[in-house]
């Protein structure tokens, strides 16, 4: 065997999983061959081969003993390779790994700092029980090493050691040593200390940033690399300056970082600015203005992922300052080859920044996206035009009408859906929409489009002269209709049309009801048909009272229109993963979908149900009005619950009502408090989580009842309230309402 044979290794095993035993045996033979061991080069080539197999997923753990022997070498690369091998298999072969520890401990005392650091790092990476007792002493020695390279490794080693024994007490001496090392001259050691402390003290709320530490960090900022800067800025969020003077000193120190070459530093600085200056809106506005340039630059970066992240951040900033980017609208025009996730974001931004000057060009641009090859993008563009139409209806209606002429199924459907939403929000566009719908000859083919068209026909049948004929077409084809949502909509629409144009509709409504009651297999549809049938039996006027409701809701446009939200609403999620992965977006779309007329009959059957004003059972002195607002998801609730602090805790002085959970939920809903979750049955401790909105704040609450038989509990309910943003008065009002509801339930013999 010659040297060249040994080196052509990587191509041989095309299928690493087959014949692996043979390969391992052969390697074992080679590694234990004294001739190979004597030839440094050949020996190393075999070791490289082992690593290659390992990375391909072949199990070479059987070679552990031979590899441990190979670690006794002066060649650093060979050492690195062997260490890599040992870290991978140490947890599988803990008994053998112990043999390697001696070599590693010896290396920790090597004169070369690189070897010391390397050995220490790898020793800390061994993930097996019993490690801490071996590594503690080298780590402590490493913390005092004269080479910064070793100190860096040792500091993180403390965190690794802690994670190996998560349930033991925190070693106070190490924590103190780490706090002391924050003063280390090497910037990386400093940051590693923060990182390690954060991990070790996780259960106690992480590393403490007090005044001396905060000022020390601020002074060292310029020595740090960009990654460290970004992390330090995040840590500094925990610090509250004592006075305004101190605050402005800090801000002026950080000023230059707002325009850092690294987007992540600029954004982290902005977040800190917004957080620190929460009481100084002018400072916040100035910071936003100054970061707009780096943010825009990120939106134009070469990497599409950076561009995407930049856009998400711009979107958040625009929630408070929609005008900030209005003059730069051209930056948000979509390039042909951009991925769709970027295009979607850009369209959302374009909708938000429209103003009188740029509306013509933005619409022109959006129009050209409506014919995009991807139907999803085309529909999103049409929906975007629909959103703009709420402010600039005339121009948008022209475009939308023009799109119908293209006779593309997906475009027609999207346009009709947009029309439906538009009519609901801007009643003044109704006449124009009805005219267009009448002139539109081909009907949408997908179920969302059909529902939208049926809703329009039913709601505004008197303005569309051909409505009954279109409706008849659907009723004739009802046997082929599969979607139950469309069937429901068809029913509601026919009944509504019957009320405004009885002569033309009576016959087909009869056929429709007959078919649905006699032959329909979908129980929901059948029940709905029966319901309408019974309502119709009570007479036309009765039916009209029940079925017809408001045809539009102009007040909605105030809600969904562009409103400048306070910065505090989004500052806490700025520069976090949430907005990029979509939960923040879900929240926003939930607001829209909750306010949209989804055509659900429940709303129409109870006209004005949303307007019913509910006062709390026994009127309290402090008038506060609660509202449910958009639903909160469990994840959002959980995240906010963990993020916020308890502002108010009170023992209510009576046990929980022994009513059925449904009753409790319904009663709370009556006073606009939503129940999110509660402990089922009579389990102890019993808990319930509630939320509501009032005077511009979101209130989260927890009801807790300890075991009544427990010695130190009075068996009484305890309520803990968290709120964002804080408002003590609202909390008092909320607790009073909650208390009265629970008391009422306790009294009622249900």
């Amino acid at each position: 065997m010659n040297i060249l044979d040994d080196m052509g290794a990587p191509e041989e095993p095309t299928m690493p999983y087959f014949g692996s035993e043979e390969t391992v045996k052969e390697l074992k033979r080679a590694l234990s061959n004294p001739h190979v061991q004597a030839d440094r080069l050949r020996y190393k080539n075999y070791i490289t081969k082992v690593i290659r197999y390992m990375t391909q997923g072949l199990d070479v753990s059987a070679l552990f003993m031979d590899m441990v022997k190979a670690s006794a070498t002066v060649d650093i690369v060979q050492k690195k390779l062997v260490y890599l091998y040992m870290c991978t298999y140490a947890s599988d072969k803990p008994d053998l790994a112990l043999l390697a520890i001696n070599t590693l401990r010896k290396d920790c005392a090597d004169p070369n700092p690189m070897v010391r650091g390397l050995a220490l790092r790898n020793m800390c990476n061994f993930r097996m029980p019993g490690m801490p007792e071996y590594i503690e002493q080298p780590i402590v020695a490493g913390l005092r090493d004269k080479a910064s390279y070793v100190r860096r490794v040792a500091v993180l080693g403390c965190a690794k050691m802690h994670s190996l024994q998560p349930n033991t007490d925190i070693d106070g001496s190490i924590v103190n040593e780490l706090y002391a090392l924050l003063r280390d001259p090497d910037p990386v050691v400093l940051v590693n200390c923060l990182r390690a402390l954060e991990e070790i003290l996780k259960d106690e709320g992480g590393v403490v940033i007090n005044k001396p530490i905060a000022h020390h960090l601020l002074n060292r900022m310029k020595d740090l690399d960009s990654w460290a800067q970004s992390e330090v800025l995040t840590f500094l969020l925990r610090y509250r300056p004592r006075s305004d003077d101190e605050l402005f000193d800090i801000l002026s120190l950080l000023d230059a970082f707002l325009q850092s070459a690294h987007a992540h530093v600029a954004v982290a600085t902005l977040r800190l600015f917004l957080h620190l200056a929460s009481a100084h809106p002018a400072v916040q506005a100035d910071a936003l203005l100054r970061t707009s340039a780096p943010l825009l630059a990120t939106c134009g970066a070469a990497s599409r992922e950076l561009r995407f992240a930049g856009l998400c951040h711009v979107q958040q900033v625009m929630r408070s300052q929609p005008g900030l980017f209005a003059t730069h609208y051209k930056r948000f025009f979509c390039g042909y080859s951009e991925p769709s996730y970027i295009k979607f974001r850009k369209m959302e931004i374009l909708v938000e920044l429209v103003n009188d000057e740029n509306v013509a060009l933005v619409l022109e641009e959006l129009r050209s996206y409506c014919t995009d090859v991807s139907p999803e993008l085309a529909q999103a563009a049409i929906a975007a035009i629909g959103r703009i139409a709420r402010t600039y209806s005339e121009k948008c209606l022209d475009i939308l009408t023009g799109l119908l002429a293209l006779k593309q199924d997906h475009i027609t459907s999207a346009v009709i859906q947009t029309f439906r939403d538009l009519v609901w929000f801007c009643p003044q566009s109704t006449a124009a929409v009805c005219q267009t719908v009448e002139a539109c000859v081909d009907n949408p083919q997908d179920s969302e489009g059909k529902q939208a068209l049926l809703w329009l026909l039913g709601e505004h049948g008197e303005q569309i002269s051909s409505a009954p004929y279109v409706m008849e077409g659907y009723i004739d084809g009802l046997k082929t209709e599969l979607s139950s949502a469309v069937k429901m909509e068809l029913l509601s629409a026919s009944v509504k049309m019957f009320l405004c144009r009885p002569a033309e509709t009576q016959d087909m409504l009869g056929r429709l009801l007959h078919y649905y009651i006699e032959e329909e297999s979908d129980m929901c549809v059948r029940d709905r048909a029966l319901l309408y049938y019974r309502v119709l039996q009570r007479g036309v006027e009765e039916t009209r009272k029940v079925v017809t409701g408001p045809k539009s809701d102009p007040s909605m446009s105030v809600l969904t229109g562009r409103q400048e939200e306070p910065i505090s609403l989004w500052a806490s999620t700025f520069n976090t993963l949430g907005p990029l992965s979509g939960w923040d977006l879900c929240l926003q779309t939930a607001v829209i979908s909750a306010s949209e007329p989804s055509g659900s009959a429940e709303n129409e059957l109870l006209p004005g149900s949303t307007d019913v004003t509910l006062s709390s059972p026994n009127d309290t002195q402090e008038e506060i009005s609660l509202s449910l607002g958009p639903p909160l998801s469990h994840e959002t609730f959980e995240k906010m619950w963990l993020d916020l602090e308890i502002l108010h805790r009170q023992t209510l002085g009576f046990p929980r009502p022994k009513t059925a959970p449904d009753t409790l939920q319904a009663a709370l809903q009556l006073v606009k408090i939503q129940t999110l979750a509660f402990t089922p049955g009579d389990a102890v401790p019993w808990k319930a989580y509630l939320y509501t909105r009032g005077t511009g704040t979101l209130i989260l609450a927890e009801l807790l009842q300890e075991d009544p038989d427990a010695p130190d509990s009075e068996g009484s309910l305890v309520v803990s309230v968290k709120q964002q943003p804080g408002n003590q008065q609202t909390i008092r009002g909320f607790v009073l309402i909650l208390k009265s509801v629970l008391q009422t339930l306790n009294v009622d013999p249900l």
């Binding site: 440094r40 080069l41 690189m114 090497d186 690399d225 599409r304 042909y336 014919t371 993963l577």
Partner: protein, 418 residues
């Protein structure tokens, strides 16, 4: 912070994994594969994917997905930028960042990943510090190493770690002291059918290669610094002096680095170097279409346009193209539906033209949208914004350095709508 890294190729093979904390099973990538499948095109995979226990943040570069696994809340830009830094480091070390080079250099890749992150935190990412820790492979050195058995690892610690200026190592010595600056500008533009500019901006960078002994203190000034409205600098630049005097004063890192980057977005300042006259049409009947493209110089400031390439993403129904180019060569790939016309140098006397017919799938409806053209080009010795370096002065050292400035203009995202 960054828990693990998986490298996945275009075909969905996971070919490298590295864990900085406990080992996370490969099965976490299933969420990524799900998103990958849903996205159809690899470009469309969203950068942040949420899974029940982790976040997956990925970037797609050179046909490789760099998928990182995150367990705690992190600033997303931080991770994305870091992943790009990893990819750039591979490119720097191996000349290109591809699956083959990564597999061939797997040992160095692991060494690099080990030094760049520890316990999931970024450690050494500056290229000139990394290169002292781990020497990049060169053909000559790998031959020498094979014969002598010596390694590619620096035997001593990087001296930069001891210097008072973190980005520069102490005791640098060169026999030839030289400082070169490259001003590179990319034009991002969208032109509409009639050739009017819908949107245009310039993204510029100044790359430097400084090999000077000792601790030189440099000052670079521009003839027209007011052009630059949006600049960001390497940490070595003294920002206060830029704010007050509009000069760039700095102690440079040793070797290659990016001194500054800037944007010019005022549209009247962005010159469009070429014009494109195009006519692409599809006929209602006969399953065919016509294509006629002419490219000519517009505002080139007397310089020659080179490496001119026109790329057209044709609609799916286009089966083949029968064209005639007066200059350069064209190639239509019927699988990817991409037409590439490689023109080369733009001849200012006789404008290159590409003309002919397209044949469509018979029976298919005529495409509703005309394809856009992407233009690629290069102009040597010109910064299209007109930015010019005035002078470079050196203080703090006695010798006389050799100085040079080069200008290049390239097309970035340059697109013509039809």
């Amino acid at each position: 912070m960054i828990h693990s890294l998986f490298l996945i190729n275009n075909g969905g093979d996971l070919f490298l994994e590295k864990h900085w904390k406990s080992v996370i099973s490969r099965s976490v990538c299933d969420y990524f594969f799900e998103a990958r499948e849903k996205a159809v095109e690899p470009d469309n995979v969203p950068p942040v994917i949420r899974t029940p226990h982790h976040y997956l943040i990925n970037i797609y570069r050179e046909k490789i997905f760099f998928v990182s696994v995150i367990q705690t809340e992190v600033p997303p830009l931080f991770v994305i930028e870091f992943l790009h830094r990893v990819a750039e480091t591979f490119q720097d070390y191996f000349g290109e960042c591809s699956e083959t080079t990564i597999k061939d250099n797997v040992v160095i890749v692991y060494e690099l990943l080990e030094e760049m992150l520890d316990n999931g935190f970024p450690l050494a990412t500056e290229s000139n510090i990394l290169k002292e820790l781990i020497r990049p492979p060169t053909i000559l050195r790998s031959v020498v190493n094979t014969i002598t058995g010596s390694s590619n690892v620096g035997e001593t610690l990087p001296t930069g770690q001891l210097s008072t200026i973190p980005w520069r190592r102490a005791g640098v010595k060169y026999t030839n002291n030289e400082a070169y600056f490259d001003v590179v500008e990319e034009i991002d533009a969208i032109l509409d059918k009639s050739g009017t500019t819908v949107f245009a901006e310039i993204q510029g960078v100044v790359d430097a290669c400084v090999k000077l002994s000792g601790m030189p203190d440099l000052t670079l000034s521009f003839m027209n610094p007011r052009l630059l409205d949006d600049v960001s600098f390497h940490p070595c630049v003294r920002y206060k002096r830029w704010e007050s005097e509009r000069v760039i004063s700095f102690i440079p890192p040793d070797g290659n680095f990016q001194l500054m980057s800037y944007h010019i977005s005022a549209q009247n300042l962005v010159a469009i170097p070429v014009y494109v006259k195009q006519n692409i049409s599809f006929f209602e009947t006969g399953s065919s279409g016509r294509l006629d493209i002419t490219v000519g110089p517009k505002q080139t400031m007397g310089k020659t346009v080179e490496c001119l390439v026109v790329t057209v993403h044709m609609p799916k129904v286009v089966l083949s193209a029968n064209l005639n180019a007066t200059q350069g060569t064209y190639n239509y790939d019927p699988v990817t539906k991409i037409l590439v016309w490689d023109i080369g140098k733009l001849n200012p006397q006789k404008f290159p033209n590409l003309k002919g017919s397209l044949s469509l799938q018979s029976g298919a409806p005529k495409p509703e949208e005309n394809p856009s053209l992407n233009i690629d080009l290069k102009i040597q010795q010109l910064a299209i914004s007109g930015l010019k370096v005035n002078r470079l002065d050196m203080y703090g050292e006695k010798y006389k350095p050799f100085k040079g400035v080069k200008y290049v203009t390239k097309a970035g995202k340059f697109q013509v709508r039809t």
